[in-house]
Amino acid sequence: MSSTKVAPTSSDLAHKVALYRSQYALRQFEKRAYDLFLEGLVKGTSHLSIGQEAIAAGVAAAMRSDDWTFATYRGHAHTLARGVPMTPVFAELMGRTNGLMAGKGGSMHLTSVEHGVMGSYAVIGAHLPIACGAAWSAQYRGTEQVAVAFFGDGSTNIGAFHEALNFAAVWKLPVIFFCENNLWMEYTRTSEVTAVANPAADRASAYGLESIIVDGNDADAVFEVTSAAFARARAGEGPSMIEAKTYRHGGHSRADPGKYRPDEELAEWMTKDPIPLYRTRLLEAGVSEDELVLIENEVDAEVDLATDEAKAGGVPGEDLLLKDVWADGGASWRN
């Protein structure tokens, strides 16, 4: 996202205004993605982060530009939060040549290596060990880079989660395991199928890690707790696991209305919507309404422009079909 153009009152406040901008942009992007899905322009599937933006924004703000993000299929927000422009992400969702991966990956596999977004992974848990590998390479080369793997509460019950945690702990890898606990898997409540109350944090001690729980709807809290984890990782003190409590406002994917969730639960979490809460906090801290409106207008215009640019992209042709199976750029398996 482009940096804020608002004159900061102090560097701390400027940081917070930037965090607001980031969260607001993620929200507006996702809302537009949903509209495009309903219009039939985004095909296949999409998993939105509406309600969970404080996590993507807060963690990204704590990252060095050469750190690595490993996301899940619910990865639009994490991709954008690292600075990937909106146009190629919209275009990827729409399967256009100006997409982030020219339409070859789609919504669930957003990747932008130049921004440190090392992939979005759609098989539950797989990217946790992969993030360990990136962390291993940073450790081996002494670069002090850190890998962050985001995953949901439901993902704590797959083997790869447990393999990765033990592996990272014994190799003391600079990796942060970040659980976005939105209470639900797809259509089943995670607590119904999980042996412990806090699916990530309660498992931490099994791997010799501190149990860290944070309010995932508070970008400042997320930023703070994650910054400490980055510092530990860079200092060679090994992995951390953070569990953030949050909620997705919409369904699991596509047009799922999420009707399986009790109305009161949704209503309660809507009162904890991270974006209005953060906006109020900024106003109380002395940021003017005008500044915030200006930011919101800028972001809205950015979303509109990106939508138009993405729609203008071409339809991928056969040249892309057989491209880049192999490092030589081709797909040939015989002579």
Binding site: L128, G133, A160, K323, D324, W333
Partner: protein, 325 residues
């Protein structure tokens, strides 16, 4: 020149590449101080240290996930999966993650990594430690698959696999670990995707892989004594596949016999047979015949395992029968 076993060649090949390239690292279970369960990695931790040759927990997904993450960020990892049957517990990382990610990201990532594994039967280990799984790997777009049949090729193909910028599944026939060969001194680097003609004949072409190569050669010697002169092609690399050599050698004799250790269905020979039938059908003088392990899990008892895996005797009788009918 020194006589080396197949297993000693593995360590030699890895060491050759680790010496020339700091980005080559090696991870797996019991590969360090223990020198590998098959003693294929003896001496590596002593020479390169525990940072580059690193023992892992029994966590195959973590091992291969770590190899993938390291490869996408600039290292050239070699990962060991002790027995190739165990690919089944980490196949997501192999088939969905490593194999697909370059394509899905439109070429943003490269995965210069090697996964080496003990493959196949002959050791009476029973069904869960004996299968030949080269066909599992061959059918996944995005994986290269290399299967050496002798100690010299182990070194050269290992070097080529490590230097290659794509993921390579490197399958070592366990039955060959103690086979010996004179190995030249100095650096050995081979080329992926090249089959080798080990024997030229005029009546039939035996196309074999891995542990089946020495058996095909022995069978060819016996067949020659009874007047059937065979070419023997060592496939060496299933992906990329050297179809040019195979097609040329089959055209020359007019007959193709594949000798495969994998269970029957979807074995690599089926793909070779299909290519031959498609492209040089009119050069054939008789049916294409596949000699494979039957479509069964491998039994443990030596008598049964020997019945299952193509033997020299079975190759000889099958070729005889087919050529004389």
């Amino acid at each position: 020149m020194a006589e080396l076993t197949f297993r000693e060649s593995i360590a030699r090949g890895i060491a050759q590449e680790m010496r020339r390239d700091e980005s080559v690292v090696f991870l797996g279970e019991d590969i360090g101080a223990a020198g590998g369960v098959f003693k294929g990695t003896v001496g590596l931790i002593e020479e390169f240290g525990g940072v580059r040759v690193r023992d892992t927990p029994i966590s195959e997904q973590a091992i291969l996930g770590a190899a993938m993450g390291a490869a996408m960020t600039g290292l050239r990892p070699i990962a060991e999966i002790m027995f190739s049957d165990f690919f089944a517990v980490c196949w997501d990382i192999v088939a969905n993650e490593i194999a697909k990610s370059r394509y899905m990201t439109n070429g943003q990532m490269t995965f210069p990594l090697v996964i080496r594994s003990g493959n196949g039967g002959g050791l009476r280990f029973g069904a869960q430690h004996s299968q030949s799984v080269e066909n599992w790997a061959m059918m996944v777009p995005g994986l290269k698959v290399v299967v050496p049949s002798n100690a010299v090729d182990v070194i050269g193909l290992m070097a080529a696999s490590i230097r290659d910028n794509d993921p390579v599944i490197f399958l070592e026939a366990k039955a060959l670990y103690s086979s010996k060969m004179d190995v030249p001194d100095g650096e050995i680097v081979d080329t992926l995707g090249t089959a080798k003609v080990l024997r030229e004949g005029s009546n039939a072409t035996l196309v074999a892989l891995g542990a089946m190569v020495p058996r095909a050669l022995e069978a060819a010697t016996e067949l020659a004594a009874s007047g059937i002169d065979c070419t023997v092609v060592d496939v060496r690399s299933l992906v990329p596949l050297d179809t040019a050599t195979i097609l040329r050698e089959v055209s020359a004799t007019g007959r193709l016999f594949t000798v495969e250790e994998n269970p029957r269905l979807c074995g690599w020979g089926a793909e070779v047979a299909s290519i031959v039938a498609d492209e040089i059908f009119y050069d054939l003088d008789g049916p294409i015949v596949r000699i494979t392990t039957p479509h069964i899990p491998l039994p443990a008892a030596d008598a049964l395992e020997d019945m299952a895996i193509p033997s020299v005797e079975r190759i000889v009788t099958t070729v005889h029968k087919s050529m004389n009918s």
